[in-house]
Symmetry: C2
Subunit: 352 residues, 2 copies
Amino acid sequence: MNTNRHLLLWFAMMSISAALGGCSNQRSGYAGSSLSSPTQAHAAALASWNDSPAKRSITAFVARVTNPQSPDFVPPAERIAVFDNDGTLWAEQPMYFQFMFAMDRVKALAPNHPEWEEKEPFASLLKGDLKSALAGGEKAMIEIIAATHFGMTTEEFDTVVKDWIGTAKHPKTSKLYTEMVYQPMLELLSHLRENGFKLFIVSGGGIEFMRPWSERVYGIPPEQVIGSSGKTKFEIRDGKPVLVKLPEINFIDDKEGKPVGINQHIGRRPIAAFGNSDGDLAMLQWTAGRAGPNLCVFIHHTDADREWAYDRASPVGKLDKALDEAIRREWTIVSMKDDWAQVFPVRKKDDR
Amino acid sequence: MNTNRHLLLWFAMMSISAALGGCSNQRSGYAGSSLSSPTQAHAAALASWNDSPAKRSITAFVARVTNPQSPDFVPPAERIAVFDNDGTLWAEQPMYFQFMFAMDRVKALAPNHPEWEEKEPFASLLKGDLKSALAGGEKAMIEIIAATHFGMTTEEFDTVVKDWIGTAKHPKTSKLYTEMVYQPMLELLSHLRENGFKLFIVSGGGIEFMRPWSERVYGIPPEQVIGSSGKTKFEIRDGKPVLVKLPEINFIDDKEGKPVGINQHIGRRPIAAFGNSDGDLAMLQWTAGRAGPNLCVFIHHTDADREWAYDRASPVGKLDKALDEAIRREWTIVSMKDDWAQVFPVRKKDDR
């Protein structure tokens, strides 16, 4: 019960602050093109990146570690690159997309729970009154997460996530959430893959929430996705083996948990790490501490017109202590406004 | 303390039964060639396998799932194969090799622990009296494991394992432990890799004990090794980030834990699974429960002359309930005596 509570509180606190404080904190709303779709980029030249020092620091690193004549040459097997997800590969405003999923799930499950009409936080949530729903604080959030993420098999959850991610739209942009991935990052993933890197997502988000679509959207297979997780239990149901998702913490892949998760899943240090918040700092420190060449990059949300602008004071994706350390250590800081010619993927002519 | 105790007891019980009961139980000692070394095989035709139904069931499966014209075709991304380690890829008698490592570590660490001269279980162990050392039962084993596996950084442990695995010799065969891998299984790993399979080790043994040598010996990189593990903690020591190995359980990758570990690390069901004991049964059930073609294989230790012969009554690698289920479900059972033309790798002429 203790660890269970820990997991749920962690998720709850991240979500509450996001849900209640997210919008007021952002400096400007999203006003980008709606003509986008998540196309895997094969841009040899990182076409959506402006020719800036940030881009050059990345391409120069890749050139150095892949050149057998360079003293910084790294054998392909050791070319591990890790990426945070929320705010690094896709957007995270006005709150983590996984919380949007949880809220939508409450609505979808409501017909099976007539008692929710009277019972908070569900009653308010179903009326569209998020503020009242979350007035119950931690306890309210715990009930929402527990009702939507646990008690089913892993395969049932996989289906639910796939259905949602294929249809749900962002409240502000009306895009599919997978259309709110960053085009320059898709190009970077391709560039690294073409140069023999093995790419991993290392996210505070739920591992079972990302895996159903990470391969299609990012080209990153489920076995290269690391995230927070609950415990599961092996059972034979009607003669068929299943894994049941229990309401109990397994692992929280955030802050100091990120190097732990990387060691647990990968077993060697990355040579490149990409994040956007204080939650990624330990991951970048772990990467920078490697003997040999390494690349540490923060994505800085500076573009209030095309995306959102936020950093030190944001309840979602707070970048404060990590920004100081990145400046001090001369890590690469990518300004979305200055370094990206384009933010979201442009829909191809023959789409829809 | 509770989970900590759980981990240590689990390891302790496995090791004690092995250490005290292993030799008396085996039907015959090892008497194989000493002219062996762990060479990665590139045997196109599984040369060390006799042309038997067991071999044909494996090659026919590989042919079916890789043939785009077959109704059983499986896309490369889903060709996941999982292998138990102890008793499936390398030998495990007279006791798990990781316990040999723990005992050797006690000897190596003794100079830093003068108090061990008087203190059990270390005093007896250092005199070579294993029986007296283990007379203290669980408590004795817990002290041995704790003294040898925890309290150092992951990178320090990596170095210690590499040193040991490169020099320590098996008490009966006088081979390096990595020379006691199974040649037919090395050939099978190559055959599967050549056919687009991605291979994972899924072992009850320690994940940090296998990773330092799995790539060199099996061609399986650390990120494809799943095993039991302790918790680690991220720390900055003298300005350098490290992960410290804590004496606390993280995960036990045995029995019903194997499907859990597979889901946690891989995120999709294997299409092929190889084991040798009741500890692998849930992993094979999980694989067999996949929608679509699958292959489940048990290695049966039937060769008292070239390796060891043991199954239902062995304290190490007990194969009892799983043998019944394998027979009932017509899974592939590989008899080492009948199906393998060779057991251990033959040392090449130009070696030593």
